[in-house]
Amino acid sequence: EADIYQTPRYLVIGTGKKITLECSQTMGHDKMYWYQQDPGMELHLIHYSYGVNSTEKGDLSSESTVSRIRTEHFPLTLESARPSHTSQYLCASSDRIGNTIYFGEGSWLTVV
């Protein structure tokens, strides 16, 4: 399995709380991604990064923000969580050539 890690795996938080989903990879990959996926549904790209200090919004509009201060780290933050944010968030990375994407195990977020 690929060396990409997400924490927390499962989280239940109240509306209005701030939450940061952590993602780290030890492969030295330049490119990192965040996808949102509802159970049994398609993946939606919400953020990606080409490298340090590079972040871009994906195809699906999201109220979350990301940062890329270090190559290995790509956290996603929700400043004020709402029930509509309940979903699975998948972090992924690929090398500079980018022929294959590696996924973390996902973070299941429930906002009550």
């Binding site: 399995e1 991604y33 398609e42 050539i97 980018g98 022929n99 994407i101 996924f103 195990e105």
Partner: protein
């Protein structure tokens, strides 16, 4: 943007039998990569097989093989001798080549495969 279509939301197969999952895509590019990813319930998504568009030979990985029809823009996955551990959601994905910084992975909506003992 490229689109990837998986027209079979759900499929089932008897253990030890063969099943084929369909995928079509839309692109105007001539060079690209195609992938099948497997996502077991509550587990990590993993790469099953990858195909380079410039290669005419279909990729194979043990019990998994693809039928790549470039002109038809079709990329089906065949699982032979199905096992209970093959039960998962399968996603077809597309990526442009060469690997420019703006190129992203595009995923289909997935096919849920059930393996019947």
């Amino acid at each position: 943007a490229q689109t990837v279509t998986q027209s079979q939301p759900e499929m089932s197969v008897q253990e030890a039998e063969t099943v084929t999952l369909s995928c079509t895509y839309d692109t105007s590019e001539s060079d690209y990569y195609l992938f099948w990813y497997k996502q077991p319930p509550s587990r990590q998504m993993i790469l099953v097989i990858r195909q380079e568009a410039y290669k005419q030979q279909n990729a194979t990985e043990n019990r998994f093989s693809v039928n790549f029809q470039k002109a038809a823009k079709s990329f089906s996955l065949k699982i032979s001798d199905s096992q209970l551990g093959d039960a998962a959601m399968y996603f077809c994905a597309y990526r442009s080549a060469p690997a420019n910084t703006g190129n992203q992975f595009y995923f289909g909506t997935g096919t849920s495969l059930t393996v019947i003992p």
